[in-house]
Amino acid sequence: MARKTLANGENDTRLRGARWWKEVGWKHVFAILVIIYCLFPLLYVISASLNPGGTLTGSNDLFSTFSGANYANLLDTDYPTWALNSFIVSSATAVGTVVMAAAAAYAFSRFRFKGRRGGLTTLLIIQMFPQMLAFVAIFLLVLTLGEVFPFLGVGSNLQLIAIYLGGALGSNTFLMYGFFNTVPDSIDEAARIDGATHAQIFWGIIMRLVTPILAVVGLLSFVASYGEFILARIVLSRPENYTLAVGMYVWGTDERNAPWSLFAAGAVVAAIPIIALFLYLQKYIVGGLLAGGVKG
């Protein structure tokens, strides 16, 4: 199904020489430069992860030791449990966020109701409340909910997912709303004439046409919950419940005996799922599904 015409409208004819450099070649050079910028601080992390007993930033003498011991040692810690918890929490959060934000974006994009304009802005503004200082309120909320619904108490992954889903609307809805608006109303109209219900239109048509943005929002919310530790720390009170972010934070805040090498190995391993997820989702994000779908 590869399309011959590219996004920028030019045909994929092989370019040569100067023109290649002008239009494509420099992009490779640029990509390499950006990657160096991205990677360079992480070299410290990778170097530390290969050096048992070393410090994180104590030395500029990188890669003086090569040892996989730190990676092996991760298995003796709670790390695998944390990874599993993180995977569950972040996956559930990502799916929940995508579904709820998409539903809300659909409502804002397709229905006309009172307070629609203001509602959209309000959603975004509410998310701007500085939660950092609200840990007391969140803790009390977790306690109360935990009393009424025992499975939502302190230490519950479900509770943490629920808290993350509290932030599902907001900027995600906005991002999707903009995208939904680019899907022409005529498509809904045609389906409606054919007898489709609003739910069928939403699930069957719209959701397929907006796949790129679903993938983006899913990835963003996965990464956000994957790296979040401030709220998670309030809810998860025991090491066996920790997510990766909390566990790593705990390792990193030990003022005197921070296990930097273990920490670094953990960070490297933890980054792999994110990269893999992105590699997987890339085809949905940039696969041109929208255009193909509309042209259908």
Binding site: G53, T55, G58, V136, F151, L152, S237, D254
Partner: protein, 414 residues
Amino acid sequence: MRKSFLAAAAVGLSLTLAACGGSSSESTSATSEPMASESSSAPMATGTLTIWVDESRTETFKSIGETFMAETGVSLDVVEKPSADLKNDFIRDAPTGQGPDLIVTANDATGDLVANGLAAPLELGDKSDAFSEAAVRAVSLEGQVYGLPYAIENIGLVRNNAMVQDTPETFAELVEQGRAAEGAEFPIVIQQGGDAGDPYHLYPLQTSFGADVFATDANGDYTSELAMGGPEGEAFAEWLKQMADEDVLSTSIDADKAKQAFLDGTAPYIVTGPWYVADFLAADMDISVLPIPSAGGEPAAPFIGVQAVFMSSQSENQLLAQQFIDFMGTKETQDALYEAQGRTPALTESAEAIDDPIVAGFGEAGANGQSIPTIPEMATVWTYWGGAEVSILNGTAEPVEAWQTMIANIESNF
């Protein structure tokens, strides 16, 4: 794909309903549940105590808990908390009734815990003399004891014997010797943490100028009268500036850098505590621990920190918690803690039995030590103190002026 978007919610919901059916029956096994009286014939107690410890102590307290269980029949639920959060979480949780029965933390927390009414007073009774006096003082406030001390720690001068073998009397001579040592890039490393500074690691040198942080009363307890101002403190400030100019002290040398320099053999000396020693030994270094030489003429007195167990005033298991406190004070427990943690026990009898040159070295280095003040005012002092030292070391402020401003700022907060 025809499912309503609620379907996704429903999956979650049915899971939660199932989970709720499963867990509601267990939720009554709360730790505070008193025991049924049927077991009255047994002399042993039953129940569970919850204790919060930081990551460096989890394993130790789990094994201590097993001994405690065997002796008393009470199980100890050891919950690991990040060291940075333990005290804050406790202060947040305890008033809601969700806190632990006991916490293990350094004695600096005493003032905070007492100000918030969360540390139960302890009556060490006749046993109080069996502990090192500095240790008991470190967990007391206004004459009331709040924690059971179990280990003492302080910083000392650690020497790399492969680089230098004998240590001079004064700091100035030490710097000279350190510079001359083969392979040395630094004569000595003393960690300074970025913007917040590190008055703790500089305190022995400060006291060698006679600038103690607080005045003490007749009993030796700290009063809230600041004592580090005046000519002594200013002399120390001038000296700091001089050390910065001579590249002996620098805020660029953070904990990581200091440790690495010593490990790499580019610094013959480091001022540090027992926490890094294991790493030095693991790197096969030959080290000695010595008292810190004086810079200002008087003996250098490091802060003495104490690790202690505190009992929550909100605990519903006070009786059992008290049993654990008693258990912590026994020689057997203090010995076991020493074995596991390598810190000088607070119980004199246990401490005297130790024969280890490194522990002895730290003991000697702390012989003149002063316990870290527990009065609530101390929290304010740290911030301004570190800030002033950083501005002197970085040359952004004149030493005497910076010191005087610091004193004024701290006093305005009292």
